[in-house]
């Protein structure tokens, strides 16, 4: 198992081989509140790092989920589309948003590890 890496926009990615699994952080789901709608990308969609890849909405607000890396979408997580509330229960686990075949693994080095992300969250308080 590889470690999760995080963006400043509160996405995480976990990479095994050339496949990444992307979701939003526990901090993000907590800040959003009760998630009521999720939209995930279609398989085959090409994404550049930072592109809007998915949507997550709470009662009050809509937020974009940006792709932490460049690549091609393998699949979206249908479970969170059917049950958006799962994002509140398991943001950093089963409620991942999509999987992606990385086109440039070097981009991973630009992301934060858990310790750096935790330190970053402290600056937001």
């Amino acid at each position: 198992m590889s470690d999760m890496r995080f963006t400043k926009d509160h996405e995480w990615i976990k990479v095994e081989g050339d496949t990444g699994t992307v979701g939003i952080s526990d901090y993000a789901q907590h800040a959003l509140g009760d998630v009521v709608f999720v939209e995930v990308p279609e398989p085959g969609r090409k994404l550049a790092k930072g592109d809007e890849a998915a949507v997550v909405e709470s009662v009050k607000a809509a937020s974009e989920v940006y792709s932490p890396v460049s690549g091609t979408v393998i699949k979206g997580n249908a479970a969170i589309v059917d049950q958006p509330g799962l994002v509140n229960e398991a943001a950093e686990g089963g409620a991942w948003f999509f999987t992606i075949k990385l086109s440039n693994a070097a981009e991973l080095s630009e992301l934060m590890d858990r310790a750096a992300y935790d330190a970053y969250l402290k600056t937001l308080e």
Partner: protein, 371 residues
């Protein structure tokens, strides 16, 4: 509107909100609780199932006194204030010379020579200046700055009130009474902004926290923030000033022409009356309607509305997810020809035209206590 550089004002219950774990946000120049740890969804559903306590102390409270105060106020609003009974409350608006809405407000008649107004926080200073300039020489106006305003709302509000203010149970929807809640002198109106039964309670600042703690200790009552207040009022089809109605929208366009009775429609005598009377006779070009997105994606304010061929009709004024409706709900402006319930429309959300239809308001039935 408030200057972003001005420090935020605090409400009398500020420390209580923080003690309760509220997330405080800037709203209309005040630091206000947007939600408590329970979260918007739980707070919303709890208010519909039991009872919620809202702090709306940022809103404007105004007293108007004078022998002909009702008549003078009528020169600024299209509602029937002279005909309002003593002890009764009415919803109305201030209009401008174009018939647009400067603010919406509640007017209560405590005596023939004594009115009590509740106005929006973001508009309260402009409203007061407007009244002062127009009728200040004819009536005595006072901005009430030494009172807080709480709202107790929900199907169990009456059972809670029964324990601390049995007197209030004989009130019906849209009535006002000076009463005492657990020994605290209050001015209570049986009204609210959720579609549920309940009271709005004006209380001296010095006793506001005592009252809030007393009400929160009653069975079924939990604190509710502005987030759930917004989703509750949206499901109830109630207008939010600045989103659903504003200076460019008349009461006819806003679909609140019911605020005008036969006499005021005929007589006019308020700013913009000629324009509004023409719209009453001929209909307005556009109308606020309920909009039901048919999928799961919420359509937020400013989402474009089109016809089925993609021609622009207007935009969403308020929209989001309705926790009690358990689906997205919205309101928006469409041309009159597209305003019939059931009319198929499209909502352009993130570039995609999603199916929706014009829907009856409210999305969740009102449950007011009418006696």
């Amino acid at each position: 509107m408030s200057d972003p550089d001005t420090p935020l004002l605090t409400v009398p219950l500020d420390s209580l909100h923080r003690e309760l774990g509220a997330k405080m946000v800037p709203f209309a120049g005040y630091s206000m609780p947007v939600q408590y740890p329970a979260g918007v969804m739980t707070e919303h559903l709890h208010t519909r199932a039991e009872a919620g306590l809202f702090d709306v102390s940022h809103m404007g409270q105004v007293e108007i006194k004078g022998a002909e105060c009702a008549q003078w106020l009528e020169s600024l609003v299209p509602g029937d204030i002279q005909g309002l009974g003593i002890g009764k409350t009415r919803y109305t608006v201030f209009t401008n010379d174009q018939g647009g809405i400067l603010d919406d407000l509640m007017v209560s008649k405590l005596a023939e020579d004594h009115l009590f107004l509740v106005t929006n926080a973001a508009c309260k200073n402009e409203d007061f200046a407007h009244m002062k300039a127009a009728i200040g020489a004819k009536v005595a106006l006072r901005m009430i700055e030494d009172r807080a305003l709480l709202a107790l709302q929900g199907p169990k509000a009456a059972a809670a009130m029964a324990m601390v203010c049995p007197d209030a149970l004989s009130m019906t929807f849209m009535t006002i009474r000076e009463t005492s809640i657990a020994g605290i002198a209050c001015l209570a109106t049986r009204s609210g902004y959720t579609g549920e039964d309940g009271w709005e309670i004006s209380v001296p600042t010095a006793r506001a926290e005592d009252l809030a703690r007393t009400l929160l200790a009653l069975p079924g009552v939990m604190p509710i923030g502005l987030g759930a207040r917004d989703s509750l009022r949206l499901e109830a089809g109630l207008c939010l000033y600045g989103s659903d109605i504003d200076t460019t929208i008349t009461p006819v366009e806003g679909n609140i022409a019911w605020i005008m009775n036969k006499r005021r429609r005929a007589e006019g005598g308020f700013p913009g009356a000629a324009i509004i009377q023409k719209q009453l006779a001929e209909g307005s070009a556009r109308l606020r309607v309920g909009i039901q997105p048919l999928g799961r994606a919420p359509a937020r304010a400013h989402t474009e509305i089109t016809d089925e061929a993609g021609n622009r009709l207007g935009e969403i004024c308020s929209g989001g997810f309705g926790p009690s409706a358990d689906r997205p709900v919205a309101m928006g402006y469409v041309p009159k020809a597209f305003s019939a319930v059931g009319t198929k429309i499209k909502l352009v959300v993130r570039g995609k035209a999603l199916d929706a239809e014009v829907a009856a308001l409210p999305f969740v039935p009102h449950r007011y206590f009418k006696g």
